[in-house]
Amino acid sequence: MTFMKFATASALAMMVAGAAAAKSDITLAMQLEPPHLDPTSAAAGAIDSVLYSNVFEGLTRFASDGSIIPGLAQSWEISDDGLTYTFKLAEGVSFHDGTSMDAEDVKFSLDRARAEDSANAQKALFGSIAEVEAVDASTVKITLSAPNGSLLFNLAWGDAVIVAPESIENIKQAPVGTGAFKFANWVQGDNITLERNPDYWGTPAKLDKVTFKFISDPTAAFAAVMAEDVDVFAGYPAPENVPQFEADARFQVIVGNTEGETILSTNNKMPPFDNVKVRAALAHAIDRQAIVDGAMFGLGTPIGTHFAPHHPDYVDLTAESAYDPEKAKALLAEAGFGDGFTTTLKLPPPSYARRGGEIIAAQLREVGIQTEITNLEWAQWLEEVFKGKDYGLTIVSHTEPMDIGIYARPDYYFQYDDAEFQAMNTALEAEADVAKRSALLDKMQRKIAGDYVNGYLFQLAIPTIAKAGVRGLWENAPTQANDMTGVYWAE
């Protein structure tokens, strides 16, 4: 009886408190709108930014600090030879359309992703999987063709989430997942709404409704935040405004790590960049700190190789390509370009690229390299540069986690074709031993830094601006995601 009274009283108290806070919905703005809503068939990071962990879940998942934690798989056993993974799935999980999620759905999802004709943007993640087997409704056995140390990591990607055969047909417009939020509405060109999933199998979401609003223009972004039209701006595009938000008590500024290695991508097959001395000259002509200060207003950590500085296996190789214009000139002269040369510099829209491009153009001019700057929209950039490989230099941030493996792909847009590196990458993929993996990663980082494949600029730091009362946002961005499942209002 006493207990009942206490419970009622506290429930009342909570209701009063709840009435004061009142807010159970949130509007989160981001710059890019997803082209469609199927994370398993496109490279566009914006899809994951809306859906990852909110609507779709994988067997494993990323936590904010980058560690891998259980997702739909509650536990797993790895055989001694490292070839068989047995996953125990969470019980009582159902998709948003009411169908149950079981081992057959997992088998369907993974087989679909790794199929010959799969449209998955990261098929390499599933390369080592030989067979997926549904042992019983809640047990999945994955057999590998060779040991793979990063399988659990790979399965956490947005490209490896579990989808259902019943709802796959309309996934691009009406995604049906297992997450704590379900898809509600998409007003194209403006926003996407998610609603709380009342039947969620795990810890339910604290918010009733999340609206993702798309604001691409930096000036409009500033206005929207200042006018409090949006509660959170994830990936705020104008770093120059950050001090203003920091000084304003209405807002909090979260600057966490990202996986975005921002690089001066170089077309390694296009003369004169096929000459390693020219690439070395490029590297020495670049003053990274000036780019971080000028383009990012101080946000970002200089990097000397294609690896995230907050990763334990990171090697600081910035000294190997230290800013030294005299050395750059000497290298150019050695390579037979004493009088310099002219090349193209194609820039996608983000300010790190547009502003960074102008700074790099000025720095290259100092050593005699002239650049013709072309500003491209993302679609043009993907077509001309990424797919068409029609460029000399470009600037872009590679936001996928642990993506040093792209250097082992000779058809990738920087066209770096090196047998030695490819062998190292093959060895890495088969290696499960942590210490040996570290040693390999060390060698791989040194190799691409020593070959000056690209100009390594800085690790992108993306500020998130949020109203002071918002709690539970991810601090770091180990993958492209805005995990809203733990977000709530303080006050």
Partner: protein, 271 residues
């Protein structure tokens, strides 16, 4: 001389002079960046402050004047070179198919908002100063063609033209020797106005990223780049904005003043 003519001439001269001087001298190099000195307020060292790359805004406005003026002059030139002969031809052959074709073609170009044509051209052929010039030039053609045709039509009825026809001169020769000299005043006035519109159009195109490409300084792009910083460094937007305002105002006053000064009827009325 009217007051607007003097003010207009002085303002226009200042910017033309700044553009000319910028070829040989600017206080600072506009291509060299000085990032440690970025976003400085106006001072003795940097009269109008520095931008987000530490470039001297005064120097950039000088070179930006060069960009604006070059684009506008060539664009107006294109409009005149093509529009004037078209207008003369249409007037000489008034009522014929040639006249119809020329004037309806002009109507077609005129029907599109001028900036829209410019955006279309730069979107198709790529963003550059040259394409901006072509785009602005194209929408100048009908302006001059119409102006010249209208004026020429009334001139063709004059007695001295009749006399020339009687003496056996062909239409082309009459247009060149008798019509063109008498529309020159109109062309100068309209050219000045179109010149100011060209500067506005160049600024507009650069503002949306379709004009001169970096690192060439341009007033429109200076404005665009200052947008997110305007709230805490207003000088970044104020000075290029003033440059555009004063130049366009000056050219318009100059155009008005010239019209008053060159129009014989108005001149007589004032006396």
């Amino acid at each position: 001389m009217s007051r607007s003519l003097v003010i207009g001439a002085v303002l226009s001269a200042v910017f033309v002079l700044a553009a000319l001087v910028s070829f040989v001298w600017t206080p600072y190099d506009v291509l060299g960046l000085d990032i440690p000195n970025k976003l400085k307020e106006p001072s003795a060292a940097h009269w109008l402050g520095t931008d987000h790359f530490g470039r001297d805004i005064f120097s950039m406005i000088m070179v930006g004047a060069r960009t604006s003026i070059a684009v506008a002059i060539v664009a107006v030139g294109i409009g005149m070179l093509l529009g004037v002969p078209l207008g003369l031809a249409a007037a000489a052959r008034t009522g014929t198919l040639l006249d119809e074709v020329i004037m309806r073609g002009n109507d077609l170009v005129f029907a599109f908002p001028s900036l829209l044509i410019a955006i279309m051209i730069t979107a198709v052929f790529g963003a550059s100063a040259v394409n901006a010039i072509i785009a602005i030039g194209i929408f100048n053609i009908p302006v001059f063609a119409r102006l010249v045709r209208g004026a020429a039509l009334s001139l063709w009825t004059r007695d001295y033209v009749l006399a020339a026809r009687v003496s056996g001169k062909g239409a082309a020769r009459i247009s060149l020797e008798h019509i063109l000299p008498n529309v020159t005043n109109l062309l100068i006035v309209q050219g000045t106005i179109q010149f100011s519109l060209g500067i506005l159009a160049e600024a507009g195109l650069s503002y949306v990223g379709l004009g001169a490409q970096p690192p060439t300084p341009s007033w429109g792009r200076m404005l665009a780049e200052s947008q997110t910083m305007f709230s805490f460094k207003p000088h970044l937007a104020v000075f290029p904005g003033l440059a555009i305002l004063l130049t366009v105002l000056g050219l318009n006053l100059l155009g008005d003043g010239l019209r008053d000064a060159l129009d014989p009827r108005l001149r007589r009325a004032k006396r």
